[in-house]
């Protein structure tokens, strides 16, 4: 059991929770994740560790409400207990002095890029960060990102905030103008694919962090598998961070759609239940 100590609404759909999990906090490293289950009938979902404090024994998670489980989690309040909070899982990102690193965070991927940017910056790297989202409402942690970056760019697809367009357009400008030694990108698969295509053209080493569907998170089921460098890899134990130039994104995008119908059905049932319970709360 892990108690929710702090809950913050970062944007209407993106929530942050600081959770009491001393064992996880003590071992957590940038790049790792937890698998959580928060009620008896619940599924096990992976969430990246967005921040951690070993002294306080807390771990921060950030999630976007995209399906039934995340909507449900979003309704939990401070003081509530998360039934299972397993971690830290996955391998940590290699932390060393690379030189000039560009950190790209897209959508809710801004959360996992933060601890990586912070770690890289603390090791003396020059960090340029680019964060982007569909629209202004989905941008969060701008201040946090700025505090760990030498330079920060913000984009929105619709131009409601920052520069209009995709993160890749800023990235292209940066890599053309400056020497870049490493790119780290976290976000939707399609974004990571576009980033990798771009950096491959410029021969810049690129790390991406994958977030496939998982069950156990410990290498026991193979649900999280994908092709990296023509080999089958389990994201939960071999990753989640991989060489972006070696990942088969199309395969992963197909795998991510496996349960689309079921997710939709679960969401409809959930919404209907909410309408019955409290008609005024469903605004969307």
């Amino acid at each position: 059991m892990a108690q929710i100590l702090v809950k913050e609404v970062l944007t209407p759909q993106i929530k942050l929770m600081v959770v009491e999990a001393p064992r996880v906090a003590k071992k957590a490293k940038p790049g790792q994740f937890v698998v959580i289950r928060f009620h008896e009938q619940g599924e096990r979902i992976p969430l990246t560790i967005a921040d951690y404090d070993p002294d306080a024994g807390t771990v921060t998670i950030i999630f976007q409400e995209v399906g039934k489980s995340t909507l449900h989690l979003g309704e939990m309040e401070e003081g509530d207990e998360i039934l299972d909070f397993v971690g830290p899982l996955g391998r940590e990102i290699e932390e060393r002095q690379f030189g000039h690193v560009v950190c790209v965070g897209g959508g809710v991927g801004i959360a996992p890029i933060y601890p990586k940017a912070r770690a890289l910056s603390m090791l003396g790297n020059r960090v340029t960060s680019i964060i982007g989202a569909r629209t202004a409402d989905l941008i969060f942690w701008e201040r946090e990102m700025r505090s760990v970056s030498d330079e920060l760019h913000v984009t929105t697809d619709d131009g409601t905030y920052g520069e209009k367009g995709f993160v890749t357009q800023v990235l292209e400008r940066v890599v053309k103008e400056e020497q870049v030694d490493l790119v780290v990108a976290v976000g939707p698969l399609i974004m990571m694919k576009m980033v990798s295509l771009l950096t491959k053209k410029f021969s810049i080493p690129t790390l991406v962090s994958l977030n496939p569907i998982m069950v156990d998170g410990t290498g026991m089921c193979g649900c999280c598998r994908g092709t990296v460098n023509k080999e089958c890899k389990f994201t939960c134990v071999d990753g989640p961070v991989f060489d972006g130039h070696q990942v088969d994104y199309d395969e992963l995008m197909a795998r991510q759609r496996t349960y689309l119908d079921e997710e939709q059905r679960a969401m409809e049932i959930w919404r209907m239940k909410k309408v019955e319970e409290e008609p005024t709360r469903v605004t969307r």
Partner: protein, 471 residues
């Protein structure tokens, strides 16, 4: 093969096919009391009972059977539990036909005593009356960490707790039981039985720490610092093997571990009441011929597939699954496609599997396992159209924990090497047993290993100086 001559060996009553394939409830219903007693009376009470030789934990089989024949059920339970603390489980999933029943003298004439059915009867008798907590020694203040709550870990933890040790049982999943809970389906082993046994182990004073991945959440070295003086590793063989064929990562292709975990542990068969979905197509192919394959195929039937087939590269004779389970699978309409091996998976534009290209096989010379090696017949390729595949070709050791202990000696295949006499590993104070030592085996051998290790750990604490160092 006239059966009538040997009046006796009862048939296990089971639910009719039409009824049982619609739900996940248990299929065999267990012997009635009179049938169990009658069968017990048939036992010859051999002076040198061969059956015991076939039992991996050396249960005093004639003794407990004699007590049942006399109607002394309570004493029979006691007798059984001297050696086997999980009889309700073993009575259901042990491959008796390869163990005690294979050795039984009456088996020479074709009708061995139904040891397994009797075992199940007596265990259920006890369960129906509520499990009693046996006496345990007073706490001796020594702390032991048991890693993995499968049959090996549960048994080791229970035995040590009885001796007075302070035992903490660590489990990565959110539920204890190991394969018994995430792998073996409800219709073969009801989870309430496993949880009943777990409650019993807890009642002995064992602390259970779930959702704790040793090697990640906390390491063995951390635990040693926390004061744990000895370790037992019973982490099983949980790493699923894939066939490494083109197209294997397409949607609709599951490892048996994933398929069974979604259905059993996560209760995917009750989606959307439970959140975890499981996809089942109209035509399902399960690749493999072991218990895991049977369980997957029979699960697919219950999840509503129109057609389920097993694809196996040898013949039915070589199938490692229990004969009884193969029979039940066939009764349930599962079609065994033998002497056939997949060569690649075919799919559609959206990345969903649509078929398996297979090649026909014939049996050649015997291999190391003594089974005749299947050899492909050139040019015999054909396509089986399917929309769901479950790959059940075996499991290996999960390196997650082992990687954190470079000083631990592993064998060539990545399993832990142990002293066959004691279960000790190359690391002092660390013991191991079950599938993580033997490779995927049986519940009962895992329990036997847990028992052996508990005895050794006790010896290790009594007199660490004389305890033999392994390797």
């Amino acid at each position: 093969m006239s059966q009538d001559k040997f009046k006796g060996r009862p048939k296990m009553p089971q639910r009719p096919v039409r009824e049982r394939i619609r739900d996940f409830d248990e299929v065999p219903t267990g012997l009635e009391e009179w049938a169990a007693v009658e069968e017990a009376r048939r036992c010859l009470q051999c002076k040198r009972p061969l059956c015991m030789r076939g039992c991996p934990v050396e249960i005093d089989i004639p003794a407990f059977i004699a007590l049942i024949a006399e109607g002394k059920f309570d004493q029979a339970v006691q007798k059984m539990k001297e050696k086997n603390s999980l009889p309700a489980i073993c009575g259901r999933v042990c491959p008796q036909e390869e163990q005690c029943e294979r050795e039984c003298v009456l088996g020479k004439k074709g009708e061995p005593i139904a040891v397994g059915y009797i075992e199940r009867f007596i265990a259920d008798y006890e369960r129906d009356r509520g499990v009693r907590t046996p006496s345990r020694s007073s706490p001796n203040g020594k702390k032991i960490a048991v890693i993995g709550a499968g049959p090996a870990g549960l048994t080791c933890a229970g035995d040590l707790a009885k001796m007075g040790y302070g035992v903490t049982l660590f489990e990565a999943f959110h539920a204890p039981g190991g394969v018994l809970v995430y792998g073996i389906p409800e219709f073969r082993l009801p989870k309430s039985i496993v949880f009943g046994e777990v409650d019993y182990v807890r009642s002995l004073g064992v602390e259970l720490e779930l959702s704790t991945v040793i090697g990640r959440s906390v390491t063995v070295d951390d635990l040693a610092e926390e004061g744990f003086g000895a370790f037992f590793i019973g982490t099983g063989a949980g790493l699923p093997y894939f066939m490494e064929l083109p197209g294997e990562n397409m949607n609709g292709i599951y490892s048996a571990n994933e398929f069974l975990t979604r259905s059993n542990l996560m209760k995917g068969y009750r989606f959307p009441e439970y959140d975890t979905p499981i996809k089942i197509g109209r035509r399902v192919a399960v690749i493999g011929g072991g218990n895991v394959a049977m369980d997957s195929a029979r699960t697919a039937v219950r999840l509503g597939a129109d057609e389920v087939c097993l694809v196996y590269r040898r013949t039915k004779n070589e199938m490692p699954a229990r004969v009884e389970e193969v029979e039940r699978a066939e009764e349930e309409g599962i079609n065994c496609i033998i002497l056939t091996n997949p060569v690649r998976f075919l799919g559609n534009q959206n990345g969903w599997v649509t078929g398996i290209e297979c090649i026909e096989m014939e049996l050649g010379e015997p291999d190391e396992s003594g089974r005749r090696r299947p050899v492909p017949i050139e040019g015999s390729e054909y396509v089986i159209p399917i929309d769901t595949v479950v790959v059940a070709i075996g499991q290996g050791p999960n390196p997650l924990l082992l990687e954190t202990m470079p000083d631990l000696t592993l064998n060539r295949r990545g399993y832990i090497e142990t002293d066959p006499e004691t279960g000790a590993t190359s690391r002092r104070g660390m013991f191991a047993g079950g599938d993580i030592v033997t490779g995927a085996a049986t519940g009962i051998s895992a329990m036997g290993a847990g028992k052996q290790a508990a005895r050794s750990i006790d010896r290790f604490f009594q007199d660490p100086d004389t305890f033999p160092q392994w390797r």
